[in-house]
């Protein structure tokens, strides 16, 4: 069996499969199916400084090969995350990534400080939530603001910092370089693509928020292209996500340049998706005769 462990900005993951933020809560729900310690890591539900109720329903609708969601960052706030959810999660042998979102640079910095002495292993800076007017997406679309928020949080935090990028931009490479230049330790991408569905009977949007974030199989090729583009632009590690539903998808993502992957929407379809991807990646790495899965990253030969 090949070595499945990967290291991202100094943090060791036992395998490169991380449950994606917003699809896996704080890990407790899926631990009713299997021990979540089988995963490399978990990126927790996007957390804000104070509790958020989120958007009115309907918050989810099926699309061709995917879903749109408009949850709107419903979360208990960083205080309850630290006091109630994190201790339970830390009992598992799993890398814990806190995904933080805010309305202002100051919000992000305050959250980073609150997490300073916590048992969180890594911070994922969510500057790409499409469902909240000020859920960070405004920070995510301009290189200048990405650099500003990244630099400020980096100054106030002692945790490895991974910046999560939105695909709803003109040039993701420029955004990635801005984050790297401002001190990001890693990048994760892509968040959801903004989309819409309409009920043709009522002629109203299906989602109460009108628009939502598209995820699932439909976005995989877009995600793969963007991960490739970013991989070529930066030197820091890249965590690839967006529509990964099988070990083959995960393998493609790593060949494109990802050091690890996040799996989200696939869990809704198959609660054992992450576990199956880990197993499949192991056999594939073995079949290639590689000693370590890290040898797979960025091995694409472009035409």
């Amino acid at each position: 069996m090949p070595d499945m462990s990967v290291k991202i900005c100094g943090i060791s993951f036992k395998n490169p499969v991380i449950a994606a933020s917003g699809t896996f809560g704080f890990g407790m729900e899926y631990s009713e199916f299997y021990p979540i310690s089988r995963l490399g890591g978990i990126s927790c539900k996007g957390t804000t400084l104070v509790e958020r109720m989120g958007n009115p329903t309907p918050r989810i609708v099926e699309t061709s090969c995917g879903i749109l969601n408009s949850v709107g960052l419903q979360n208990p706030g960083v205080g309850r995350f630290l006091s109630s959810y994190l201790p339970r999660l830390k009992k598992q042998d799993i890398v814990v990534i806190a995904n933080i979102a805010g309305n202002s640079v100051e919000d992000y910095c305050e959250m980073a400080e609150r997490l300073k002495d916590s048992q969180v292993d890594m911070i994922e800076l969510n500057i790409s939530c499409p469902n909240v007017k000020q859920g960070g997406v405004n920070f995510g679309v301009l290189p200048e603001s990405v650099a500003e928020v990244t630099a400020q949080v980096k100054k106030r935090s002692d945790k490895p910092l991974m910046v999560k990028l939105t695909p709803n931009v003109t040039s993701i490479g420029d955004i990635a370089k801005a984050a790297e230049g401002a001190g990001a330790d890693a990048l994760s991408l892509i968040n959801t693509l903004t989309g819409m569905r309409i009920d043709i009977k009522s002629r109203r949007p299906v989602l109460r928020n009108n628009t939502g974030g598209l995820s699932g199989r439909a976005i995989f090729p877009v995600a793969l292209r963007m991960v490739r583009e970013v991989y070529k632009c930066v030197k820091i590690p890249v965590v690839g996500m967006g529509g990964i539903s099988s070990w083959e998808d995960a393998a493609e993502m790593m060949i494109a340049g990802a050091n690890a992957v996040q799996v989200g929407t696939a869990n809704f379809h198959d609660p054992f998706a992450c576990v199956k991807i880990i197993e499949g990646l192991g056999s594939y790495t073995d079949s290639l005769g590689l000693k370590s899965i890290t040898e797979l990253t960025g091995t694409l030969s472009e035409w």
């Binding site: 917003g22 699809t23 896996f24 809560g25 729900e29 899926y30 009713e32 199916f33 299997y34 539900k45 109720m53 989120g54 329903t57 309907p58 918050r59 989810i60 609708v61 099926e62 699309t63 090969c65 995917g66 879903i67 969601n69 949850v71 419903q74 699932g216 199989r217 929407t265 869990n267 809704f268 379809h269 198959d270 609660p271 054992f272």
Partner: protein, 258 residues
């Protein structure tokens, strides 16, 4: 591990009303631990999201589940095309079900349309102490009346067009029933407007009422926070997950005015 994934072989399938299917599955692990009011999440080939379908019956000895569902869209249409012998990929049992208190108490059960199936196990618990008021569009859409009678319950059927039973709504029949009879507890599942009226009547009569809520669902296990329902308690207003904290709530917990 509270949840199981099972491939349930279809043992029986009947179209009991136009577009409404009654299916029994061999699913021993889920059947062994299911309670009234819970649901399963069923994989539909070619769709991302599973379809949540409430349990109309479960028999732990025989290892059998019964589901009754209506074609609502393309996912349930795909499900309806499965045949006896095919497998359904299901996860369950999911959700917080009905609390069944004491079978000697007088229970009134109010079902609207395809919200009726999860109420059958409740009627089977209260038997002759149950009165089941159900409402449908018309006579041909009426389902499960024989099952409720077989359970020993008294049935009051209502239809919108008067083609069977009482010409009118379940809530009118419920109001009349409560004015003339004793009732200790009310259970309801159906359209939200109906349940809201049932909840009001229950409150006016000082009777405990349990409601089974519906919302567009994602994961079905509480992780994604898509299927929330407005609720209230002493601490204020909340958006609470239908898939794990529900689908069954106390009627006074639901914030009907939100």
């Amino acid at each position: 591990m509270r949840y199981t994934q099972e491939l349930g072989k279809i043992l029986n399938k009947t179209e009991i009303a136009k577009g409404t299917f009654d299916v029994t599955l061999h699913s021993p692990e889920i059947a062994n631990i299911a309670v009234a009011g819970q649901f399963v999440n069923i994989l539909c080939d070619g769709f991302t999201l599973r379809r949540p379908i409430s349990l109309c019956g479960f028999d732990s000895k025989k290892g059998i589940l019964r589901i009754v569902f209506e074609i609502r869209g393309k996912g349930t249409e795909w499900l309806s095309r499965l045949q006896v012998g095919d497998n359904m990929d299901i996860i369950g049992p999911l959700g917080h079900g009905f609390s069944l208190i004491d079978s000697s108490k007088k229970a009134v059960i109010v079902g609207g349309g395809v919200g009726t199936p999860p109420l059958l196990p409740v009627a089977q618990f209260y038997r002759e102490n149950a009165t089941v008021i159900t409402g449908f569009r018309n006579a041909s859409a009426a389902i499960l009346q024989g099952d409720f009678e077989k359970a020993g319950a008294k049935t009051i059927l209502c239809t919108d067009d008067g083609s069977a039973g009482i010409h009118g709504f379940t809530t009118q029949a419920l109001e009349q029933y409560l004015n003339e009879n004793e009732c200790d507890i009310i259970y309801t599942c159906g359209p939200k407007v109906m349940m809201r009226s049932v909840a009001r009547l229950a409150e006016n009569h000082g009777i405990t009422c349990q409601v089974s809520m519906e919302e567009r669902m994602g994961c079905g296990v509480g992780a994604c926070l898509c299927c929330v329902c407005p609720t209230k308690d002493g601490k204020g207003k909340h958006l609470t997950r239908v898939c794990v904290n529900g689908p069954v709530f106390s009627s006074t917990e639901v914030d009907w005015d939100a």
